[in-house]
């Protein structure tokens, strides 16, 4: 139990520190790397509370795919750091406001303030009663029965976003030469070459 508490404080401290470094660090590539560290430690926190499925999905989706693409883009961009710093004071109030709103919502949701406390304890009691199974199965059962429509809607929203991004960036430019694999494979020996009998000193 002591070891678990110790592990929690270590992971939580690293998560918070890495989160702060994402904002503070001067180099955007460092920011993304600290973001990855924060994701990773959040996954460790999930493992500590026994939500190993969510932890692994967090690592696979965010660390393994999303953050790679972030890093990809940030490394390619030639970001001017002084320009980036200029807007800081201008945007600070908006950012702080969003932070306060998120924090308040979290407090409400966790039931520390107000009457929301029933939900989370109720969920825990519910979970403890019916779950001799591992949490992967538990999530699957809830997701594909009770929240089936919401789950499908979430999927469709993501699909629409993906198609939207493709439509926005897809341009048909005339005169672009492409590799057509079907044509290349279907080319026969007769089409590709001719055998010529060359007379001596005659040339082709």
């Amino acid at each position: 139990m002591l070891l678990q508490a110790l592990a929690f404080y270590v992971f939580a401290a690293i998560t918070v520190a890495a989160g702060a470094m994402v904002v503070v660090s001067r180099n955007p590539v460092y920011s993304v790397l600290f973001l990855i560290l924060a994701f990773f430690n959040a996954a460790a926190l999930f493992v500590l509370i026994g939500a190993e499925f969510i932890a692994m999905i967090l690592v696979i989706v965010y660390v393994g795919a999303v953050a790679v693409l972030f890093l990809f883009v940030v490394m390619m961009l030639d970001i001017n750091l002084t320009e980036l710093r200029e807007g800081f004071l201008k945007y600070f109030p908006v950012g702080a406001l969003i932070g306060v709103v998120l924090f308040a919502e979290m407090l409400l949701g966790l039931g520390i303030v107000g009457a929301g406390s029933a939900t989370i304890t109720g969920l825990n009691a519910h979970g403890a009663q019916v779950l001799p199974i591992d949490n992967t199965r538990a999530i699957g059962r809830v997701l594909y029965t009770q929240y089936f429509y919401l789950f499908q809607v979430a999927g469709i929203v993501l699909l629409v976003a993906m198609i939207g991004a493709i439509v926005l960036t897809l341009r048909t430019r005339p005169g672009v030469r492409r590799q057509k694999v079907g044509d290349q494979i279907n080319r026969t020996k007769e089409q590709a070459m001719t055998v010529v009998k060359v007379p001596t000193r005659g040339g082709v």
């Binding site: 692994m56 890093l71 390619m76």
Partner: protein, 345 residues
């Protein structure tokens, strides 16, 4: 709390810690020896394919060659380019090597022979293998060199693309098993080689193997380090042991993906024929033989095939493997559902 109870807990805890370290060493040391000899066997196989002799000078049959190479790498000077990002430049090979090693914690070598028998073993392996790309991309960026950077970008795009189809292959297998635990995956294939998953899921086995080639940046997908265009790709600027870590990590990753292939499709530690003389052989040996077979195919491919062009690589990943594997997931789910073969938990 009485004094001897406290002592009991401390001794117990210490005992547990010692046991854990011993287990880790028992996996890591043979793995590193296997990695060292994989480089030797690899070179011998290419040599045989090209009608050469291969390494045959250091020791009998050249058997000490990997140690000579390792010694050379350790003794050479580590050069950090003056314009490189020092910290990240050193960290990158460590990440590449470490991610190749930590994944072995969940690999079952025999029935119950596994360091961490966790419920989400497949996902853990998938998560760790998706981290391997960071070593490469950080190396490419920190080197501050155009060849290294281009190699890293190619590699990142390639590994992310092929992870998608590997993910679908894993989903197909776990649909057939009904569990994410790797030991359960092996146990679901018990009863002879005709029960192994490579027969019903043959297309997925092929997709898995080709994606594994792409994940480990091996020929025909070794574009990240294609020497004709990019000098040596992402590790152009690396020397001595920092290069050595990338090299060892690459081979450890190959062995890891072969082990994953053996677990998912070739019945892990199971003997191919479940009758008397074959079942006397320990499961570890069968597992090692299956890994060795897949590794031989890795080397064989390298000795045989030419390198893909980059657009061909991306086309294969996104336009061929992704639809085929997605379709196969749907097909498997439908067959299991309507054939009444859905595994019961």
């Amino acid at each position: 709390m009485s004094a001897d109870l406290v002592q009991f807990f401390t001794v117990n805890w210490l005992g547990q810690a010692i046991l854990m370290v011993a287990q880790c060493l028992a996996v890591t040391v043979p793995l590193l020896v296997a990695v060292a000899y994989m480089t030797y066997v690899d070179r011998k196989i290419w040599a045989a394919i090209q009608l050469r002799r291969g390494p045959n000078v250091v020791g009998p049959f050249g058997l000490l060659q990997p140690f000579a190479d390792g010694l050379k790498l350790v003794l050479k000077e580590t050069i950090v380019p003056s314009s490189a990002n020092g910290v990240l430049f050193i960290i990158a090979p460590m990440i590449a090597f470490m991610t190749a090693l930590v994944a072995w914690a969940v690999v079952p070598f025999d029935n119950g022979w596994v360091i961490a028998d966790i419920n989400v073993g497949i996902l853990y392996l998938f998560a760790i293998s998706s981290l391997g790309v960071y070593g490469i991309i950080i190396a490419g960026w920190a080197s501050n060199s155009k060849y290294a950077f281009l190699g890293a970008l190619r590699s990142a795009a390639q590994m992310v693309s092929y992870e998608v189809s590997i993910g679908f292959v894993l989903i197909t297998v776990l649909l057939c098993v009904g569990s994410l635990n790797l030991s359960d995956v092996v146990l679901a294939q018990s009863g002879g080689f005709w029960h192994w998953f490579f027969l019903p899921l043959l297309p997925m086995f092929v997709i898995f193997f080709v994606s594994a080639l792409a994940e480990t940046n091996r020929t025909p997908f070794d574009l990240p380090m294609s020497e004709a265009e990019l000098v040596a790709g992402f590790h152009t600027e690396y020397s001595a042991m920092t290069f050595g870590l990338f090299f060892l990590g690459e081979y450890a990753n190959m062995i890891l993906l072969s082990a994953l292939g053996a677990i998912l499709f070739l019945g892990g530690w199971m003997s191919p024929i479940p009758y008397a003389p074959f079942t006397y052989v320990p499961g570890v040996v069968w597992f090692a033989l299956k890994i060795a077979f897949l590794l031989f195919v890795f080397s064989w491919t390298k000795g045989t095939l030419p390198r893909y062009r980059y657009d061909q690589l991306m086309r294969l990943g996104w336009k061929v493997f992704l639809p085929v594997s997605l379709g196969w997931v749907v097909l498997t789910a439908a067959v299991l559902q309507f054939g009444g073969w859905v595994p019961k938990p």
